[in-house]
């Protein structure tokens, strides 16, 4: 049995509130305790309050962390990342900024095709080493859980390899990982022109094998007319359902409403991206309560200007989620504070709305709303001490690592 007390938190942001994802006015309920204190027992929150309230509960050998006036927040839950890949695309990024089109890069074997080739060629150990570097970046921003997608293998063997890397890193306990199988991220070269054959392969060979090994909780598909159109995407997701996996969808990144309609139809847990979503798509998502996962860092990094209509989604009563979309192509950032900054400056969300989207709402989108995403008695003691006196500073000061100490299950991991 072990106890940890954190006190002198200038603000303890608990996110305490109703046991459901937050919408509308609830997005502003951060449950802030000024000069707050947090008591942890055996990895879970025992109590929150003032120092005077938790001191009577302290046992003689309790560890003490003096937050010295800093803001303490629940660990961010980053519900959309692609953290396992070989190499990076810094050179291609530069070419794209100089006006070379993505199609041109893809035609000569660049872009995702290059990452797939390199990831297939990499050993499990090489991928683990790269992913551990990125893991530290997530922690430095105060993230304690990520949803981690495969999708740079696109063959049974290499997708399993990626999912094993996610499992290995998750088991190390320094960053919680929720694995998602994304075999339908792109059609690999060997199936070029034979999308239905690849979809069959994903649906009938890859998904059952992934499920048999317990390597994924969710299945995702990149639904776009020129990648996996609605019909093919649906076949993948139906197979995922049959295998007992939850469903997430890359929807409407470039084309309006097909993906969001599919997400509503299959009652996906989330529809992710939604930059192009129009009124019809929004209404479809709202009708069945699919959670939108918004990825402003990919809009920024691609040099685009159309951000998802977060305000419209909130007005439709949707429980929005914010995530990094960390990946080597369109969103090379692992920083949730950067996403909060983009949400403020480009999407006009308040810091409270963004933080709810990045913690409790994200936790619910991963079926973990009862375990993480807030600091309430009984929940996992996942939290970060930030270099900030007020939670609003996390969205205001930007371009920096804000976390100074990060705990997962009451254990310091950064």
């Amino acid at each position: 049995m072990s106890q940890l007390a954190v006190w002198n938190a200038g603000q303890l942001v608990t996110m305490a509130g109703p046991a459901r994802p937050r919408t509308g006015p609830e997005l502003h309920q951060l449950g802030v305790i000024e000069n707050g204190a947090l008591l942890v027992r055996d990895g879970r929150v025992e109590a929150t309050g003032t120092r005077a309230q938790i001191e009577p509960l302290l046992e003689p050998n309790a560890e003490i962390l003096d937050a010295a006036g800093a803001a303490v927040l629940p660990g961010f839950v980053d519900a959309h990342t692609h953290p396992v890949f070989a190499g990076n695309r810094a050179a291609e990024f530069e070419e794209r900024n100089q006006g070379v089109s993505y199609a041109e890069i893809a035609d000569r074997g660049g872009g995702i095709r290059e990452t797939v080739r390199r990831t297939r060629a990499a050993s499990e150990l090489e991928l683990e080493t790269a992913a551990r570097r990125y893991r530290e970046w997530f922690l430095r921003g105060g993230t304690t859980t990520i949803e981690a997608k495969s999708g740079y293998g696109l063959s049974l063997e290499s997708e399993l390899k990626i999912l094993r890397v996610i499992r290995t890193l998750g088991a190390e306990g320094s960053l919680r990982m929720v694995p998602t199988f994304l075999g339908a991220h792109e059609v690999p070269d060997e199936f070029r022109g034979r999308i239905d054959d690849y979809v069959d392969h994903v649906a009938h060979e890859m998904i059952p094998e992934v499920a048999r090994h317990g390597l994924a909780e969710f299945c995702d598909v990149f639904c776009e007319p020129n990648v996996f159109p609605i019909e093919q995407a649906r076949r993948v997701l139906d197979a995922a359902r049959r295998a007992g996996l939850g469903v997430r969808i890359h929807a409407d990144q470039f084309t309006a409403d097909e993906g969001s309609r599919l997400a509503a139809l299959v009652r996906a847990r989330t529809a992710d991206h939604l930059e192009a979503t129009g009124a019809e798509g929004l209404a479809a998502l709202a009708a069945v309560g699919v959670q939108p996962v918004l990825l402003p860092a990919s809009v920024y990094a691609l040099g685009l200007r159309r951000y998802p209509d977060a305000r419209g989604m909130i007005e439709h009563g949707l429980a929005i989620v914010l995530a990094t979309d960390f990946n080597p192509g369109s969103s090379p950032t692992a920083s949730m504070p950067m996403v909060l900054s983009l949400a403020a400056t480009q999407m006009k969300l308040t810091a409270a709305e963004s933080i709810a989207a990045a913690t409790i709402n994200a936790a619910y989108s991963l079926n973990r709303g009862g375990e993480i995403g807030s600091l309430e008695p009984g929940k996992r003691a996942d939290f970060a001490v930030h270099d900030a006196a007020d939670y609003r500073e996390l969205a205001y000061f930007f371009g920096r690592d804000t976390a100074r100490a990060v705990y997962i299950g009451g254990r310091r991991v950064y």
Copy 2:
């Protein structure tokens, strides 16, 4: 006498090249040494090359730093910052994002007026403490020199107080500081409606006193029709010249070409911002070689979309500089890597162009081109070891602190 050797730099970016600010094709000359090594003696660069080349020069007690494959770059020179102020404006930032106009905020005493009030009320020690926090943020991004402006005092006493804080921090040696007097940042409340009286006060009382104490190297003025119009700005700058100060100008942030024309007329060292500059202003700057200091982080943080025309400036043969504009109102970031990211994604500069703008060109804009901004024999050993294998990663991965070790004059400061 002390020696330090750095080796196994995956890339040693020396910026070695002609002894003048870089324009056009020279912006791409980074002088990269693959698997490079750097030898430092008594705080200055003794040699650069490969490990084999510097090893014969090593003395028995030399300190060794193994960069383990990381990229080593000259410390960034951030040539436009406002780092000394009390409080912050996180609450106002949120209001502005929610649609409250800056004019409305200013009318009720907010905005810069609030920062001035709080900065006047703060003790020198309080300001030092706040500035030391921000100093660490600069270092974490690999910055080793900043130009530091006053301008939140707007009275003789409080402007001197701010400049003393800059002097104190600079003397601590953990971040080089080049002080700039910006008494003409705004007209203070007590001179409201009497701009000419305030300009007289700045020109005839403040500037001579600042110069007498040796508290500034440069004088800056916020030249905008509704702040300090060209005539008033010129009176300030003429006084600065008479007092022996160099001249920098906040020019064309919102209104085209007045500021840039003035900058050309008075042969300012730099014209800063230039988001609104048109063909006429560009031609004026180019005719006399004023260095443009571009501040994309303020465009981003204000939620605006008009970035300065960096490409046009390069084509005009101008030696562009990139800087953070760190300040609590329009640009709450101290991160030069964040500026490189904005330059890439929003302004379409290459990483090489940006890094030249953020090092050697910036050094020249501060009259220090012979001392800092590159790693060449005889220059100060100011450098950073970054979490990057290739310099292009600094502009590509974003929203993170990239420096893992920072040295100023051969001494580790972070």
